[in-house]
Amino acid sequence: MSTASPTTGTPKRSFTTSAAVYVNERTSIAGFVKELGRKAFPDHWSFLLGEVALFSFVVILISGTFLTFFFQASMAEVHYDGSYVPLKGVEMSVAMASTLDISFDIRGGLFVRQMHHWAALLFVAAIGLHMLRIYFTGAFRKPREFNWVIGFTLFILAMAEGFTGYSLPDDLLSGNGLRIIDGLVKGIPVIGTWTSFLIFGGEFPGTQIVGRLYSLHIMILPALVIAFIALHLVFVVVHKHTQYAGPGKTPQNAVGPPILPIYAAKAGGFFFIIFGVLALIAALFTINPIWNYGPYDPSPVSAGTQPDWYIGFADGALRLIPPGWEFVWLDRTWSFNILVPLIAIGIFIVLVLMYPFIEAWITGDKREHHIADRPRNAPTRTAIGAAGVTFYAGLWAAASSDILATHFWLTMEGVIHALQAVVIIGPFIAYFITKRVCIALQKKDREIVLHGYESGRIVRLPGGEYIEVHEPLDEYDRWRLVSFESYAPLMIRPNARGKITAGQKFRASLSRWFFEDRIAPVTKGELESGHGEHH
């Protein structure tokens, strides 16, 4: 294309062509467009969840930029002189006063503020749901392990963005949240006291923290989030999207509408829809009413003091510790009531982060995987996921123990004890039930493949017996039910020196745990031999 003669040449050229040529001759973009423009993008609703996160983030950037023009990240004390009567004359920080001005004295300011905050909640929620989809369909397997790590890092960064963001107004609720962070940091052995001292620029609350959080919130963290999103998307392009098993879909192809124009239209339209949904929510529903909370003051606190939802699991972990987990040893204070939640959450995060590598090690499978699993076809993985979700949900629910108590007429002590049980025993129960359910569903799939669908048609046999006719599956429907792989438990074999290492044994026992009671897909032979028996 770039070898074409100057644009003055052919008068018949359409505007689209001319414009494309004009741009290309100055940017050499043609190769890129040719490569990407007609890529097939597999189509499934669950493949749009990551886009929800991405588009919420764009809304956050747009609304956040507007807010930076008005927000002042200073903790200097002023007497509020804005429109909101119940705070008139009250001493507060400039940060709080400017947030109130955004809300009450700048037209549309409250709308943008609320949209920013709602978008933040949606951003993290969408990342969470997106990750669940990836996990339960095994879309983290080779070659996508790094992208799982990048995505999970984005989840953590998003939480950090959220926390630094909602702490900026310096209101009572977020101030108490910072107070908790201060206490949490101080409880860390050896470095805690000094870390808190450095974070807050002296004693809590000091006059520094809002400015520091602001630097993180509008510069460092967004830069990291943007960089990681860019990396994440580059990998999506490099790997091509996964697809669900289906007739014609193989590990060697990607089937779907082309990026230009259909996918671009759907995704572009979807961006405006997300933006619109957030605008609608911001127009109709209050979020973070700092005018109720008032300015931060170390003495008051509100009933129902909770963090935003994504920090809830950490707050819940703190609540679930029984009394007395703190000791003095070697003349130093060991705050296990803080360390245990921190370590438990840390282990949980590391396990989630490393899961793709763990599973790859257990299966020893070095092939690329581009077909997303149905969750039932990987029962142990699905069950582990359900256990993890239960653990997280228990911690999360614990962060609202007081609200659960008042709204369900329970005692708060009872709620805490019940959730302690949920967090410790719940994952095992969830694991067991999920695994059984998956295997049962797999067995049902086998039944259907072997004996066909129940047609609902009742036929009377010559002998007077009534039976329901089972319709055999057509080959396309059958393919959806049989196109999965199963793994056998690893056999222990001695290595070159004729020894069985402990690592091998461990790996074999993990492999047994994963695959011992697997259900294999129906084979042609089984179907043929099964036909005669049951009809």
Binding site: R107, G192, G202, E203, H239, Q252, A283, R332, T333, D474
Partner: protein, 358 residues
């Protein structure tokens, strides 16, 4: 679905050949079943209503441009709402209307635009489905080998592996060079202060009067009736020029009066209360929330953040929740005029635990 023809057959045939080049990487413990079903290939393309029925296609087009016009209307509405709903009247109801109508306009503009574009893509654009071939992510073995060669060549030419002294000293230098930057961050907190002494003392001194939060008015013992809870700051806190909140964050106290008979005081603290009046730090010993939910009959104090409960009748020992230590007690007495005063500072650091606390 049912009336499948042979249109997918060729594709299926083409597909099955892929199985051959399904890389030679190890499948691990995956079972390769010999008589597995074969991929039947793509089913016949199913046309949309708008492909078959021109009227439906017309209608879809109409819907799309109507949505775009609606979007324009929404944008204009939002602009009009900006002007029509002022909020300079000190009335939150006006803010509510401003927020509501600007927001509804913007929402309409965006939703109509988005739904219109998606609808265009779904119903009007040609229903094309493409099949891309995937290639191994690692690229061809030749490319991979070439890249590896680049590294081995450059390693050989530079001597990175061979010249280990140079390499290791380089790594050492690179590890050490950020240290000055780290040290600079010591400046995050004041140079002339240390955290532990600051955390160990509060504004309370012998003779400091207990004053009401927030007014700062001193409190007489006779003001504190049984069942009362007073939120207390040290007198003089409001006059501080700097660090008022820092001091308040350590010095906030809750003052309660119980029947003296209900107080079960520690022997060494017998004279820390005055006629059933006790003063305890309001800052939770767990992570520092203000513990101020006082139940006057059960004498329980509850922290609303993590539900630690303290029993005021029993020197504020922990009866539930993650806190370990009792709330520190402020020894109090009365002065000549009958005002409540502190006997001293707290005898232990208040607030959350920290490493050097003991």
């Amino acid at each position: 679905m049912a009336q499948d023809d042979n249109s997918g057959a060729e594709l299926a045939a083409a597909d099955s050949s892929h199985a051959a080049h399904a890389s030679d990487a190890s499948p691990g413990t995956a079972l390769i079943v010999q008589d597995a079903f074969e991929n039947p290939g793509f089913p016949a393309h199913r046309p949309r209503v708008t492909d078959e029925n021109p009227q439906r296609e017309k209608r879809a087009q109409r819907t799309v441009y109507t949505l775009f016009y609606l979007s324009i209307l929404g944008s204009l509405w939002a602009v009009a709402a900006y002007m029509l709903f002022p909020m300079e009247s000190n009335n939150p109801g006006d803010v509510r209307l401003n927020n509501l109508f600007i927001g509804l306009g913007a929402a309409l503009a965006l939703l109509a635009l988005g739904i219109g574009i998606v609808h265009w893509g779904k119903s009007v654009m040609e229903d094309v489905e493409l099949v891309d071939e995937r290639h191994p992510i690692g690229g061809s073995p030749e490319t991979q080998a070439a890249a590896v060669k680049v590294f081995t060549d450059s390693d050989r030419e530079s001597g990175f592996t061979r010249r280990s002294v140079i390499r290791n000293s380089l790594i050492g230098a690179i590890v050490v060079f950020p240290l000055p930057a780290l040290v600079l961050f010591r400046g995050l907190a004041p140079q002339d202060q240390l955290p532990v002494p600051l955390l160990s003392h509060t504004m309370w001194r012998k003779g400091t009067r207990l004053a009401l939060d927030p007014s700062g008015a001193p409190i007489k013992a006779s003001d504190v009736t049984i069942g009362s809870a007073f939120h207390v700051i040290p007198e003089g806190l409001n006059d501080l020029e700097h660090g008022k909140l820092d001091e308040k964050a350590k010095a906030a106290v809750l003052l309660m009066r119980l029947e003296p008979s209900e107080l079960n005081e520690l022997p060494e603290r017998k004279d820390w209360s005055y006629d059933g009046i006790v003063a305890y730090s309001k800052i939770c010993t767990h992570v520092g929330c203000p513990v101020a939910l006082y139940e006057q009959h059960t004498h329980h104090l509850l922290c609303p953040c993590h539900q630690s409960q303290f029993d005021v009748a029993n020197h504020c020992e922990v009866i539930f929740g993650p806190a370990k230590r009792p709330l520190p007690q402020l020894p109090i007495a009365i002065d000549d005029e009958g005002y409540l005063i502190a006997q001293s500072d707290f005898t232990e650091p208040v607030g959350p635990s920290f490493w050097e606390r003991h």
